[in-house]
């Protein structure tokens, strides 16, 4: 994975991206604040959300077994997948068993994480994205830059030109409503014909075996309702213990995500429904590795609302691509290194100012700053001795005794003399050059406080 600072530098040069992104994140943030402020019990809901998710993680083994039994009791099939390859193989096998070579997809981060579309393509099965933004990106071979509005880095003219080349030859208008109509017409035929749908899930209910998908456009309802075969891929952490727990999360999620009191459509189904064949894939793919870390495991409580992205001073400037993963922003900075192992993404825990805005808006109170610091410690420990650490140790030793400090100050006054220009240190020789490349430094004063005090 490309280091974050390197990737960020490329993205920061994209003015279109920064403008669109800033506009979008500011708008969503304001909407979120308004609808969250409406609820007198928002903090109580957050606390309940946090605690329920914490309970899920500790009791996960029992909940998984309970969920499996409940789904199977209602005629659904449950598959287990240790990693991406196993999960992809399950989906491909279900398709092949029914002689299906095209499947419809509901927007799902989990299936993006496992690279399902490419894996299916390799098996000769076409996976068609049906979320409006995901469709745009798929048609253009691009990938999401925001969890919730994945094509936010594209403007209406770019999308019109893309549609004219692909699904709507001759389209002239770049009005969002006309572009949405073009997608509606194109996908309607697919919804009526294609025989298999693939979804992720926002929640799975251990008690009842119910699967829940939250969405806006109706493509999720189409994909989960019309095709006779449905496969839903769930990360094992997506479970909730009881059906009634939805009363908490169906309030937390829409308000945090799109800043709406409720999203247009929420679908809940249990087992094989209305004659449909249901397969549920329970996916690990690094989640049990995250679970092992007592501090880091809270990242698994994430309900993918993207509120932390919209408030993050780093994300709102770099956008999602710089994070090099399907999980961008503050949550991505703690989730990706844990899912893959910190050695695979050592720069991500540092892609933050630790300002804590993400923690304040998180609907399930994930303490992202603390986890970032925890992961930074892991990265540094893995790196062994570095120049920075040796330097810091030396400074600590000098500051440990007044006499050592006085000596160091006298020495610095002497050594800095050739570098002082107009009362400032503007350029220092290596290894200190890294500091003065982007900042000026005050020289050490001619007289220290202690010297001045003694003189009085």
């Amino acid at each position: 994975m490309r280091p974050f600072p390197e990737a960020a530098r490329v993205e920061l040069a994209n003015v279109q991206l920064r403008t669109n992104l800033r506009n979008a994140t500011d708008t969503i943030q304001a909407k979120r604040a308004r609808v969250v402020g409406e609820l007198p019990d928002w903090e109580e809901l957050r606390e309940a959300g946090r605690a329920i998710k914490a309970d899920v993680l500790v009791g996960l083994e029992g909940y998984l077994v309970q969920f499996e039994a409940a789904v199977e009791a209602r005629g659904g099939h449950v598959h287990w997948a240790c990693d991406a390859a196993e999960a992809n193989a399950v989906v491909a096998r279900v398709a092949r068993e029914h002689g299906i070579d095209e499947v419809l997809k509901v927007k799902s981060l989990t299936t993006d994480e496992i690279g399902l579309n490419d894996a299916l393509a390799a098996a000769g099965i076409r996976a068609l994205e049906t979320d409006f933004a995901e469709l745009i990106l798929q048609l253009d071979g691009d990938w999401p830059s925001h969890i919730l509005v994945p094509a936010i880095h594209r403007n209406r003219r770019e999308i019109r030109d893309l549609f004219a080349r692909t699904i709507a030859p001759g389209i002239a208008s770049d009005e969002p409503s006309d572009l949405a109509e073009a997608a509606r017409v194109y996908l309607r035929e697919k919804f009526l014909d294609v025989r298999m749908g693939v979804s992720g899930a926002n929640f799975g209910i251990a008690e009842t075996g119910t699967v829940c998908v939250v969405e806006s456009e109706g493509n999720g309802r189409m994909c989960t309702t019309l095709p006779p075969v449905l496969v839903s891929v769930l990360g094992i952490e997506k479970l909730l213990p009881r059906f009634a727990d939805l009363e908490v999360f169906l309030q937390l999620l829409p308000r945090s995500a799109t800043g709406e009191r409720m999203n247009p459509y929420t679908s809940l189904w249990t087992g094989a429904t209305e004659g449909q064949e249901l397969h549920v894939v329970l996916l690990d793919n690094g989640r049990t590795r995250v679970l092992r870390d007592e501090v880091g495991r809270q990242a698994l409580a994430c309900i993918r609302c993207s509120a932390c992205l919209n408030v993050c001073p780093v994300y709102t400037r770099t956008g999602g691509h710089a994070y090099g993963s399907v999980y961008p922003g503050p949550i991505g900075a703690i989730l990706t290194p844990q899912l893959l192992g910190v050695e695979e993404a050592p720069s991500l825990p540092f892609a933050s100012t630790l300002c804590g805005a993400c923690y304040d808006v998180c609907p399930v109170k994930i303490d992202i700053p603390s986890v970032l610091v925890h992961l930074r410690a892991k990265v540094t420990a893995a790196q062994g001795p570095t120049r920075e650490r040796t330097g810091m140790r030396t400074v600590a030793w000098i500051l440990g005794a007044p006499r050592r400090l006085a000596f160091a100050q006298a020495l610095a006054r002497l050594l800095q003399r050739p570098f002082v220009r107009e009362g400032m240190l503007r350029r220092l020789p290596p290894p200190l050059a890294a500091w003065t490349r982007t900042r000026d430094l005050k020289p050490v004063a001619p007289e220290s406080f202690r010297e001045w005090w003694r003189r009085r």
Binding site: A48, F132, L226, T288
Partner: protein
């Protein structure tokens, strides 16, 4: 070792010895508004999603007014609500293509949430299977005033024992994917009309429904089957 055993084993060892956290549920589970306020709030909030909301006394007349063309109805849709002049097709397992050729759908609902302006369908006899309210471009939903609760937890309590699929609908389908410009109507019905039906006061529960007291008799006030029974009774009387 199977993937199942492997994953369960990894989970077990990862959290071994961790204490089970306490879950406190101090959020609101019961509303404070009376029926009149509840209904008014629902109408306002549903309207803010750009659903067309009307308060009606004569359901059939209102249906006749808002519906055009051929509409599908689930078999259990009350006869009393069907205007005689309207071209209604009863759902007898129509294919998605057949539904796509129709102009709209007419349903009841199980429960509605005032605070969020949400209607909830549970594939009950007067709501029909999920495809019905998804494929046609117009959805007209009749909500009885007694079906409106104030809070999300109160609605979830009503839904707790429903084994059929559940769909929560808050306004027409929408996308904000292009430059965050909201477009109403993508794949689901582009027009949602909600008819809020006033009812004779005899049917009114003595107390507003309460989600915090989940005794069975409290729930029964909102049991959809009881409401359907009531419809059948009413039809027989008529």
């Amino acid at each position: 070792m199977s993937a199942r055993e492997e994953i369960l084993g990894r989970v077990r060892s990862a959290v071994a010895g961790a204490p089970r956290p306490e879950v406190s549920r101090s959020y609101r589970t019961a509303g404070t508004r009376d029926r009149k306020e509840r209904v008014a709030l629902f109408c306002m909030r549903a309207g803010e999603y750009r659903a067309e909301v009307r308060r009606v006394t004569d359901v059939a007349a209102a249906v006749a007014e808002v519906c055009r063309g051929r509409l599908v109805v689930p078999a259990g849709f009350p006869r009393a609500w069907r205007p005689p002049a309207l071209d209604l097709v009863e759902d007898v397992g129509l294919s998605a293509r057949e539904l796509d050729a129709l102009d709209g759908v007419l349903t009841g609902c199980t429960v509605a949430i005032a605070e969020t302006g949400t209607i909830v369908l549970t594939a009950a006899p007067d709501e029909g299977r999920r495809a019905l309210t998804l494929v046609p471009d117009l959805h007209v939903c009749v909500v009885r005033e007694s079906e409106i609760v104030e809070l999300v937890p109160e609605a979830l309590a009503v839904l707790a024992d429903v084994a059929r699929p559940i769909t929560l609908i808050s306004g027409p389908s929408a996308t904000s994917d292009i430059e965050l410009d909201r477009v109403e109507g993508v794949h689901g019905p582009r027009t949602l009309v909600v008819l809020v039906a006033e009812e004779p006061s005899a049917r009114e529960p003595a107390q507003p429904p309460s989600g915090s007291e989940r005794e069975p008799d409290q729930q029964r006030q909102h049991d959809p089957d009881a409401d359907h029974q009531h419809d059948r009774d009413r039809r027989e009387l008529a």
